[in-house]
């Protein structure tokens, strides 16, 4: 087992600066620190979906990503672990986030440790992480961590949850991701051709 681990971080935040990106960075920091404590070297690739917004729509319309977006998909498939954070618009994940997830290759996240995060103005829709975002990645057979982290605006000021503050939740999630990523033997992206059954097998089964 090599000691290098790559985390790929997807942020669907639209503003500059964005609290979505801020949460993503905090989660990444916590996971990276824990991974380093476990003896790994960590590299991080951040994907701001805003930078690829037009390419995402084009890929949705044509059926294939090109250029920079194709490289992003490749990077994502090769990750050891993923952190994905979305703002909540109209009660749920943002359209851009969903569009991106819709064009990810359906076989590329199987078994991938994924830490989910979301941001919003108030905690009112925080359960969207469990009933909207989590199912997307469960469908893709990702290894979605038990802990997902929601940050409302007040959480950043320290006026949020005082019993279970944001920082504690971030640390807990970071630790969970680090443990999963550390323990995982990353098989790498699947070769679409290697898995093709031989014809005699296909004929026998028909």
């Amino acid at each position: 087992m090599t000691s290098e681990r790559t985390l790929v971080v997807i942020s669907a935040g639209l503003s500059q600066p964005s609290s979505t990106r801020l949460l993503a960075d905090r989660l990444t920091g916590a996971a990276a620190r824990e991974l380093q404590a476990l003896g790994h070297t960590v590299s991080v690739e951040v994907i701001e979906l805003r930078d690829h917004a037009h390419a995402v729509v084009d890929a949705m319309l044509t059926g294939f990503p090109t250029g920079e977006l194709a490289r992003v998909m490749d990077t994502l498939a090769k990750a050891d672990g993923v952190i994905a954070v979305t703002p909540l618009f109209t009660t749920t994940y943002s359209g851009l986030f969903k569009s991106f997830v819709d064009i990810v290759d359906k076989d590329s996240l199987g078994g991938m440790p994924v830490l989910l995060g979301a941001t919003g103005g108030t905690p009112r829709h925080s359960l969207a992480l469990d009933y909207s975002v989590r199912p997307l990645f469960a469908y893709l057979h990702a290894d979605v961590l038990a802990t997902s982290v929601f940050a409302a605006t007040d959480d950043w000021a320290g006026d949020g949850d005082r019993v279970n503050p944001l920082s504690a939740r971030i640390d807990r999630a970071g630790r969970e991701l680090a443990q999963r990523v550390s323990a995982r033997e990353n098989p790498g992206p699947a070769d679409p051709f290697a898995g093709t059954p031989s014809f005699t097998d296909m004929l026998g089964g028909a």
Partner: protein
């Protein structure tokens, strides 16, 4: 190398005039296009198969049989015949009939179909697409190569003592291509049988196409049909031509921007860079398409989508003239020079070549196989005895 055109029979409004052909006009235009391609000297015309608007080509063999009567040289083919939702018995009958009436001047390409509801309309489940393609094609081959078939399978009711008629021309079935965009299983099937493999190629980057073709070639060799470079390969393509590149660009842009499949998506600049769609002068098409053999190896058939996106008939006929007059002769010269050796086929096999090969191998059916006893007319299904095996030996001249 053969160069041809294909139509998927889409009924699309011309965005520059607002005119939408009705179904009749569209069918007649397809016939005119095919006939014009024959007169212009192109090698192949192929039609798609669809069973819903906005398409009209629900009956490829009817269309192609008419064209067999009104064209002289052009090879008639499909892009594609649905191997999933058609009854293989009807496919065997219809395409053998086409083979006879066209005197062998045809072949066909199997595809699974890209329209979800067609599966339930024809009693099938799209999730069974690959198993259907495999079982149906295996039955189709048996119907063409065996005079009397007893068969049982998963997707169709069983057959007892069934003979598909007319028997194939000269006892040799038509040459078959398999078309696939994304499924390695279909490339594997083509390789197993030693059939041709044609990749759609359009609307996709060449990097994807190349991988699929290479996989097919390796498996073709694995199954002992010859060397990987001897496999029969075809590619799709799409071009819009004018003598002057800027004129092509200006004229096609309004069609591109609202086209089915890629309209309202990436810019024409981006899309023509990323996919084989080429809009420009004959030389630009020659340069781009002449390089495809470097990616996929020497291949035997290059097809061009010619009438997509609402182009008016006059424009399509001009495209055919430009293709046949200004592009194909030079493109053929360039591409054929890339054939690595003389034992790599220059073209896909003709019917005559297939008959000669079958006779040499002893696999041809007799020249005119016909069973002369009618065992069925006037009987009822309940007449229980299975049909006695006809004396096939007599048909073979034994």
């Amino acid at each position: 190398m053969q160069f041809g055109i294909f139509s998927v029979s889409d009924v699309t409004t011309d965005p520059t005039t607002g005119h939408t052909p009705d179904d009749t006009e569209r069918v007649r235009n397809m016939l005119t296009i095919a006939q014009h391609a024959d007169e212009a000297g192109l090698d192949v015309f192929a039609t798609g198969e669809h069973h819903n608007p906005p398409f009209v080509a629900s009956s490829p063999t009817t269309l192609l049989a008419y064209l067999a009567g009104t064209t002289k040289n052009i090879v008639l083919s499909t892009a594609t015949t649905l191997i999933t939702t058609n009854d293989p018995v009807r496919l065997a009958e219809e395409y053998a009939m086409l083979q006879v009436v066209s005197n062998g001047r045809m072949d066909l390409m199997m595809g699974r179909g890209n329209t979800g509801p067609v599966y339930p309309w024809f009693g099938q489940d799209i999730r069974q697409g690959i198993p259907l393609a495999i079982e149906n094609y295996a039955l189709l081959r048996r119907l063409w190569t065996e005079d009397v078939v007893d068969w049982q399978g998963k997707f169709r009711t069983p057959l007892q003592g069934f003979t598909s008629t007319p028997r194939p021309l000269d006892g040799v079935p038509p040459f078959v291509w398999h078309g696939s965009i994304r499924s390695p299983e279909i490339a594997e099937q083509a390789a197993y049988y030693g059939d041709g493999f044609l990749h759609n190629n359009i609307f996709w980057p060449m990097s994807h196409t190349k991988q699929m073709v290479q996989f097919y070639r390796q498996r073709f060799e694995h199954y002992g049909h010859g060397r990987a470079d001897q496999a029969i390969v075809g590619l799709g393509g799409q071009v819009f031509l004018r003598k002057n590149s800027q004129d092509a660009w200006n004229e096609f842009r309004p069609y591109y921007d609202v086209a089915p499949v890629y309209g309202h998506g990436p810019s024409m600049e981006d899309f023509t860079r990323e996919t084989p769609l080429t809009v420009g002068s004959p030389q630009q098409v020659i340069d781009r398409y002449g390089a495809f053999a470097d990616e996929v190896g020497y291949y035997q058939r290059q097809m061009f989508l010619i009438d997509h996106a609402g182009l008016p008939l006059k424009t399509v006929l001009e495209q055919i003239d430009l293709l046949a007059g200004e592009v194909v002769p030079e493109l053929r010269r360039i591409a054929e020079a890339k054939r690595p050796s003389d034992d790599v086929p220059l073209n896909p096999p003709t019917h005559a070549e297939r008959v000669a090969a079958a006779r040499a191998a002893g696999t041809a059916g007799a020249a005119h196989v016909g069973l002369t006893e009618d065992l069925f007319t006037g009987t009822q299904a309940e007449d229980a005895e299975p049909a006695p095996k006809p004396r096939v030996g007599r048909s073979f001249g034994l």
